[in-house]
Amino acid sequence: GDSVTQKEGLVTLTEGLPVMLNCTYQTIYSNAFLFWYVHYLNESPRLLLKSSTDNKRTEHQGFHATLHKSSSSFHLQKSSAQLSDSALYYCALSPRGRALIFGTGTTVSVSP
């Protein structure tokens, strides 16, 4: 069945260092959408990035991700972490458009 895997449950890093959150997925549908949602404490989860185009880099708010269908991956990256990036990050898959399937989420904790 369709699934999303986020291997890291918690990522701790120092401000200024690069961030990479892994996301791999499984689906038989070739036109699936992949998303990154971010959930800051005491706020609602909101969309950070989305893509359905193979090998195209998508960027928003300093984060970027490239969908690689050959490896079923959609890793989230940022060149330099900020304290305000501390949050819970979800990778999600929409295989057929009716439902989003979320990964287990990765908590990012950035310290000075």
Partner: protein, 114 residues
Amino acid sequence: AQTIHQWPVAEIKAVGSPLSLGCTIKGKSSPNLYWYWQATGGTLQQLFYSITVGQVESVVQLNLSASRPKDDQFILSTEKLLLSHSGFYLCAWSLWGGVIETLYFGSGTRLTVL
């Protein structure tokens, strides 16, 4: 601007008691509506979705039910809570354009069943 209001913010309920959670979307007509649930330490799971008034589809069976009595309102309920119902409930909406492109979430309800 669209707003999504979820109520209550938090609930502490006894096992076997009834539950009703609500969600109202303003500023958007005929949205698709969703209920998501996250158990402690778990991932977000879609429970129900609705694309029109009066029609609700169940995605995951958790002894919960949902209804859409008005275009802008989505209700999640049960007559008898279980311990396993504890968690974080999120209402969300999207526009249907052939594929879900973006989900807009409410602020959520934290439910503790004792």
